[in-house]
Amino acid sequence: MAHKLTTPAAVAAMLVAMLAPARAADYVQAPGSSLAFATKYDGEMFTGRFGGFDTRLSFDPERLDDARLDVTIELAGTRTGNADRDSTLLGADFFNVGKFAQARYVADRFRALGGDRYAADGTLSLRGVNRPVTLEFTWTPGRPALLSGRATVQRLAFGVGGGDWADTRTIPDEVAISTRVFLTPAP
């Protein structure tokens, strides 16, 4: 049965009906969220936290085609528990924050992996390089909802730790990323 698009009220009612479900699945990052990485130097494991990150997510398990994840990561302020290592990490050989202060991860292709598990195939922009990165995560609905995920980033593809640091016997190419993002509905 066709809607009668004759009155402004009817149009408004229909727009609300269209928009409401989408809006309900839009989230922003809530406090307590974390984004960390882990790697090794000469076999000695260490972990780090970025200076900050901001997540925007549109996600409805029933409508994965409409899902979208957009994360902005502040590279300055990255901490690994050692000031010497941190200054090296922010320098030109690694993140080069003087030139690339932020990294960004955008994903709009999502797959269901069964149960509460999903994968997002997105693109990481880091140090001026764009490469595909897959984030696998579990989704726990609620207020806040929780996205708990892991990804692997090949650091050398982004030029992180080039030159003298490129030897993968010293620092492996694969860097493990883990995140726990608490998400509240977007205002």
């Binding site: 130097y41 000469d42 076999g43 000695e44 260490f46 528990g81 050692n82 000031a83 010497d84 290592r85 090296t88 050989d93 030159g163 003298d164 640091w165 030897d167 010293t170």
Partner: protein, 195 residues
């Protein structure tokens, strides 16, 4: 020269410990004071490894040296040395022993707490970590390592200065008896010394 210490002079073992450790500390100090200027890239990390490995060597030698000192004793002060000078010299020796132990220990603690990379003795085998990574402990241990170095340098200057003073002005055997050289009969104070 006797292997053991005699009342007159230091024996072979004590002299070997003394001069070997002097040479090692000199090299370690030069490395330690300059390595911070090197670019912080893996190409130069062997210099840090050398500094740390030599320091661990001093630690091991110092433990053996202390055991030997407790077993073999020390020569008596050169004849004519006032008791207060002998007392200060004795105190300086034990402070030097303490510093020569505290330097490698604080350095090792600094390395462990920094958690940057494994500490392999001259690249050969891995030494245990004294503590888990901790910025707080690393900061304290690093400061102690820096500060104790200057205390050690001041003590070495006082100790060597006193030895030269005895040799050049007192004309006694205090310095010579730590040298392997000539067999010199103990207290020979020149008759024309003093008024």
């Amino acid at each position: 020269m006797s292997v053991r210490n005699t009342p007159e002079r230091w024996g072979l073992v004590s002299q070997a410990f003394h001069w070997l450790i002097v040479a090692l500390i000199l090299v370690i100090a030069i490395l330690g004071l300059t390595m911070g200027e090197l670019p912080r890239t893996p190409k130069y990390f062997w210099v840090y490894t050398a500094h740390k490995s030599l320091g661990i060597t001093v630690l091991a030698l110092m433990l053996a040296r202390l055991a030997w000192r407790l077993y073999a004793g020390a020569p008596t002060p050169a004849a004519g040395t006032p008791r207060w000078q002998a007392g200060i010299a004795n105190l300086t020796h034990w402070l030097l022993y303490a510093l020569a132990l505290a330097m490698p220990l604080s350095g090792w603690l600094y390395d462990s707490a920094s958690g940057l990379r494994p500490l392999r003795y001259f690249g050969q085998f891995e030494l245990p970590k004294l503590v888990a990574p901790s910025e707080w402990i690393a900061g304290l241990a690093g400061q102690a390592h820096d500060l104790l170095f200057w205390v050690l340098a001041a003590l070495v200057a006082a100790h060597a200065g006193a030895a030269f003073y005895h040799h050049l002005f007192q004309h006694d055997d205090t310095l010579v008896r730590m040298l392997p050289a000539r067999r010199r009969v103990a207290p020979t104070r020149s008759p024309d010394h003093g008024p």
